[in-house]
Amino acid sequence: MTRRMLLALFSRIVAAASAVAALVPNVRFLADPLRRREETGPKRYRLARLAELPVGEPTPFVLRGRQVDAWKVYPSRILGQVWVIRDNDATDADHARLRVFSATCPHLGCTVNHDPEKRRFVCPCHAGVFTLDGEPVPSKELGYQNPVPRGMDPLKWSLVEDETGELWLEVEYVRFELGRPERVPVA
């Protein structure tokens, strides 16, 4: 009887150990996306000459760059979109005032449009609405719940002189985690 029990126990342990041995590499394989880090961090983009930007009117820009998708490399792909608002017509770096927002909706990541009549940024997906300062429009004003968790994400920008002395608007593009009230860069 003891021999029988021992054998049963033995076979169970051996079978379980083999199962675990088979499972471990598979679990590690499947968990790979959790450990993989893509090259991130802010990327600088040169958007336009300052003098060319219209004053007061939000202007959209499409950012293109190299994109790596697993083993595929795309040399020039659309990586994001931004909205630029030039606030005054100053043409020198000290006085020029600009606002730059990522066009990615902080709700669930659709691309935010500009509605020139209402002078608002509007998201086509769940009707999120922002002021031209990127702030969410209060739900009371809309008559329905504004679904966005936070305002549009502002991006760092700078004015950089080229060889000919002209000022260019450069933007540091960062993506933030969606759907959260706080701004956390995507790691």
């Binding site: 996306p33 009117e57 499409v62 659709c110 691309t111 020139p116 997906c125 719940q145 968790p149 009230p181």
Partner: protein, 565 residues
């Protein structure tokens, strides 16, 4: 297996055969159709971001009966969700969730999310613009679940962005994982029902009548007829209404994603729970509904048959009415939403064009590359992005026009319009270029009928994107046009290296051709164009080479894609 089958078909049929009892068999039949069509589709479909759309296109347009099999798979998937809902309501209303059916009831309920996830995962496989947008939202919803959400999202997406790994994962889930889970749950479900039927019959006593009737062939005959009718309907749909294939995914295309109809009610719920509460709509409510349904058999035990039955009927009514209303509301709103409709129209336009382009083959770089190089698709999109801040198009797109309307640029009609009224806002009215207006007022206004005809000739010549100088004796329209140019335009405009003695207007060599426009977009301040007088910025470096070429071709009215050099 055969014992299982035998038990299954010979189980007692308490209460006799009924039409409404066919729903379970219909689901089984539909699962069979999905397995069959799915395996067939897999012989061509390729789960790669660059090959998925083209392989679906190929199924749709090249493979014999490809469109029919794809449509069958599509319509059967939708039918499955509908029949599943009917099945659920039928079991609720008939009270067949009570013991001894309670275990079958629970496995049945667990099958519902499996079917929905099958639909949602299959939806992404063509890797189209619309489906990618939907998947983006859906995976973010997963990510917004508390605690485990972000990790789960990363696992499903295979990283931070939907790409190749996401497609491979979705494919595995759709063709292997969920079908396996469904198969196991389904077998258990059937076994449980068979078992419960016997217990029910025994409990009902030796009512000779009902025990004599076995499931096969009494109910089976009804099932077969019902399934034949359903199959007939599906085949009819599949043959007469091919499933459209949307445009391939391309980040430059607009999007206004909406979930498929079976998720619309949840989508609508999200409107009422926003911010941190959103999880209530996407997680808590669906799980609560499932939980409530799972608990119904227990209520039956605790509160008695009558109360449980009433609760079940009320639950069914609330689910049907609530689900219906929440589905109807967003449909209503979208139908009235001009912007949403405009995006759909644009995507249809791109889809049609992409399907046409695919006729000539899709490059290995994928369909996005195909769109990128096509003037018809990208022309207007690039124009709106880069030109419409100043240049209207057919009176549209530019809110504050600052330059000429380029619809029909370089055509005879456009040039003749400009020659007659250079100051019109459609032409140079918004710009600071006044020389042409002065010329028009002084020279054209004074011209005789014959002279006007000559100028007209020069315009016609110019609209032909002229290059080269005619021989002395030449009397062709081209030569006559050249002479007219020589007589009327050469003072200000250069052509083949001559002219432009007076003021400097744009060069006429190849004027309005794609090549000419391309060079102009690259640098309007080049010597041959406006020189220092240029108001338009140079776009070389701001747009890629291919983009400039594509835009120039579109403006010149050409439709051939820009091929790789």
């Amino acid at each position: 297996m055969s014992a299982f089958w035998h038990e299954w078909r010979n189980r007692p049929l308490t209460g006799g055969a009924r039409w409404w009892r066919t729903t379970g068999a219909l689901l089984l039949g539909l699962a069979g159709v999905q397995l069959l069509t799915g395996l067939t589709l897999m012989t061509v479909y390729t789960p790669s971001t660059t090959d998925a759309w083209p392989s679906v296109w190929y199924i749709q347009h090249r493979v014999d009966y490809g469109a029919v099999v794809r449509a069958l798979h599509y319509y059967a998937a939708h039918a499955m969700i509908i029949v599943l809902a009917v099945h659920l309501v039928r079991v609720l209303v008939s009270g067949r969730f009570r013991p001894p059916y309670h275990w079958a009831w629970i496995t049945g309920l667990l099958l519902a999310p499996v079917v929905l996830m099958l639909a949602a995962s299959g939806n992404l496989l063509p890797w189209g613009q619309k489906e990618l947008g939907q998947a983006q939202v859906e995976t973010h919803i997963v990510g917004s679940m508390p605690v485990l959400g972000p990790m789960l999202q990363r696992l499903i997406v295979g990283g931070t962005e939907l790409g190749q790994r996401a497609l491979s994962t979705f494919f595995m889930v759709h063709v292997a994982l969920l079908p396996l889970v469904g198969l196991v749950l389904g077998m258990v479900h059937l076994g449980q029902i068979s078992h419960a039927d016997r217990r029910e019959a025994t409990a009902a006593g030796a009512d000779a009548q009902s025990v004599a009737a076995s499931y096969f062939p009494y109910q089976s005959a009804w099932n077969a007829v019902a399934f034949a009718m359903l199959m007939g309907g599906l085949l009819y749909l599949a043959v007469t209404r091919p499933v459209p294939l949307g445009p391939p995914a391309h980040p430059g295309l607009p999007n206004s994603p909406r979930p498929e109809w079976y998720f619309l009610a949840l989508f609508e719920l999200r409107r009422y729970f926003t911010g941190p509460m959103e999880f209530v709509a996407t997680g808590v409510i669906p799980v609560a509904i499932l939980g409530w349904l799972i608990l119904l058999p227990a209520l039956h035990r605790v509160m008695g048959a009558v109360v449980a039955r009433v609760l079940a009927v009320v639950t069914a009514a609330v689910l049907v009415a609530g689900g219906g209303l929440l589905t109807w509301l967003p449909l209503q709103r979208d139908a009235a939403d001009a912007e949403h409709q405009a995006v759909l129209t644009e995507l249809e336009r791109v889809a049609r064009r992409a399907a046409t382009l695919a006729e000539f083959g899709v490059p290995p770089a994928g369909p996005a590359e195909l769109l990128e190089r096509d003037p018809v698709i990208m022309g207007p999109i690039l124009y709106r992005q880069h030109c419409a801040a100043c240049h209207p198009y057919g009176g549209q797109w530019a809110k504050e026009p600052k330059a000429a309307d380029l619809k029909g640029f370089g055509t005879e009609e456009w040039i003749w319009g400009l020659v007659q009224k250079p100051d019109d806002p459609r032409f140079l009215g918004h710009t600071k270029h006044r020389e042409m207006a002065e010329w028009s007022q002084e020279t054209l206004a004074e011209a005789t009928e014959d002279e006007r005809e000559e100028i007209r000739q020069a315009v016609r010549w110019l609209a032909g994107h002229p290059t080269g100088v005619p021989e002395e004796e030449d009397e062709s329209p081209f030569a006559l046009g050249y002479e007219a140019f020589d007589a009327w335009c050469i003072e200000c405009h250069t052509y083949e290296g001559e002219g432009g003695f007076n003021v400097k207007g744009p060069d006429f060599t190849g004027y309005g051709s794609a090549q000419w426009i391309e060079e102009f977009i690259r640098n309007p301040a080049a010597e041959k164009f406006y020189g220092d007088e240029a108001e338009m910025p140079a776009f070389a470096g701001k747009m890629t080479d291919v983009q400039i070429k594509v835009l120039a071709r579109w403006l010149a009215g050409q439709t051939d894609p820009v091929l790789q050099e």
